[in-house]
Amino acid sequence: MIVLQQLINGLQLGSIYSLIALGYSMVYGIIMLLNFAHGDIIMVGGYIALLIIGAGIHPAVAIIAAIVGCMVLACVIEKAAYAPLRKAPRISLLITAIGVSFFLENVAQLLLSANPRSFPNTAIIPTANFNLGSLNISLTTLVTLAVAIVSMALLTVLVNRTKMGKAMRAVSEDMGAAQLMGINVNRTITFTFAIGAVLAGIGAILYCCKYPQVKPTTGYLLGMKAFVAAVLGGIGSIPGAMLGGLAIGMAEVIVNALGYTTWADAVVYVILILVLLIKPTGFLGRTMSEKV
């Protein structure tokens, strides 16, 4: 039973990591950028929800505002910071992303101070627990799993079935050829950032409901874990990001359950190093197939 309990905890945490890892992976897939500002988008989403609920406005509004806020912010960052570097070396883009990340963290600190603020999680998901035998499942867990599953299912449909989704895959594979099809590449890239940020916004709310506080560096470690999840799953791969997120969540929960709580974050980095050493393409990394 204790194993099952931990499994459920791991699924909850992992599905949040999956949602966030998707944004990393999709953006990498389309412009080969490790968007280190992605984690900080989550922090912004957390603050938006927190401040709006704090102002006495209905939590539904706060949730929507947080998600839309994340989306708009990601699009602005893409247009302002990344789009001008479309033809620049990848390293310039990477350094820019790190710069954007520092910028967001510092602006948050300036405006909202470095002190953590508690997140009104119960306003979003009321406290409730269900007992199945010795198994204890909170409403937060159920909501998290349901929302994550629905989000990922919708994403899968979007990417595989819609014209925009197909264009995203085409641009990911060959930007030049995609342009020759009449695809507006800039718009497709912005759309990819927007989708990734919407998932991050959803992830932000779910994460803050599980760990109810927000501080300017909230996005740092969370972003890092999601990044490792994306690499573990095979960066650029959408199902890979989902799997990688679950795996990282599980690993973290297992390490905690074994009592090595202080090691939980370090384990994530160990996983990163091992993946890069043993199988840099991750679970489902791209395999190039070319024929003449």
């Binding site: 895959r169 060959d174 050829a177 342009q179 020759l180 099809m181 197939s289």
Partner: protein, 239 residues
């Protein structure tokens, strides 16, 4: 031949890759209904020329006019909407998308209601693609990939089709097939700008040809004339 109606006019193109001056004052025209070929050795600037027309590259000087409209400096996706379709060198099909999805991408600029008809038209021409419609394009043979690349261009119903070395890397029998497909497409009313290293085949189906050498047009004339030209025979036809 429809000699008169000018479709594409390239005037004084100069294209650079950093400090490399790849295209040096190239000018040429394509009239409506023609097959025009650009021939020349590897590195002469043929692909660069096509990439400039389709908007992937920019010319520092001169002008590009298509059906009376200036298309110089236009983004590639906008050029496509004008009716110019470029089948790039090396085919560049989307290997992770299915055959059908590749064709859908080809029809990206068409209204959705025309999609099925357009794809059905390509399947009529290339029944092999229909058999493999759900297959991931990367698993096709080289010849099939070339058919897909051409089919993907046709679904958008181009007025001007630009083909960059469509016979490259294909077995002789497939080369014949590709050239007869090009002629068929041309007969159906599409103007063709054909880049080839297989100069003999290209000149034999072309109305006119331009010979490129290190970024310049060095010779031009009707296909048959160039085919008979001594210096062309020596340099490109191996006789």
């Amino acid at each position: 031949m429809a000699e008169s109606e000018l479709m594409l006019q390239a005037q004084d193109l100069n294209v650079y890759y950093g400090s490399i001056h790849a295209i040096q004052g190239v000018s040429f025209t394509v009239n409506k209904g023609e097959i025009v070929t650009l021939i020349g050795a590897n590195g002469a600037g043929k692909s660069t020329t096509l990439n400039t027309i389709s908007g992937l590259l920019r010319s520092k000087t001169g002008s590009l006019t298509f059906q009376g409209e200036n298309i110089g400096g236009m983004a590639p996706h906008a050029v496509v909407r004008k009716g110019i379709i470029h089948v790039p060198e090396g085919r560049r099909i989307f290997s992770k998308l299915t055959v059908e999805e590749n064709l859908e991408m080809g029809a990206y600029t068409r209204p959705g209601r025309e999609l099925n008809d357009a794809i059905a038209g390509v399947f009529d021409r290339f029944p092999r693609l229909q058999e493999r419609r759900k297959q991931v394009a990367g698993t096709l043979s080289g010849g099939e990939q070339q058919m897909l690349a051409i089919g993907r261009a046709l679904v958008s119903r181009p007025s001007l089709l630009m083909l960059d070395e469509p016979s490259m890397g294909l077995a002789p029998i497939l080369v014949e097939q590709v050239f007869s497909i090009i002629q068929e497409i041309h007969r159906s009313g599409v103007t063709v700008l054909l880049v080839e290293q297989n100069a003999r085949m290209a000149l034999s189906i072309a109305d006119r040809g331009y010979v490129l050498e290190t970024g310049r047009v060095v010779l031009t004339g009707p296909g048959k004339e160039l085919l008979a030209n001594d210096s062309v025979r020596k340099a490109y036809l191996g006789s």
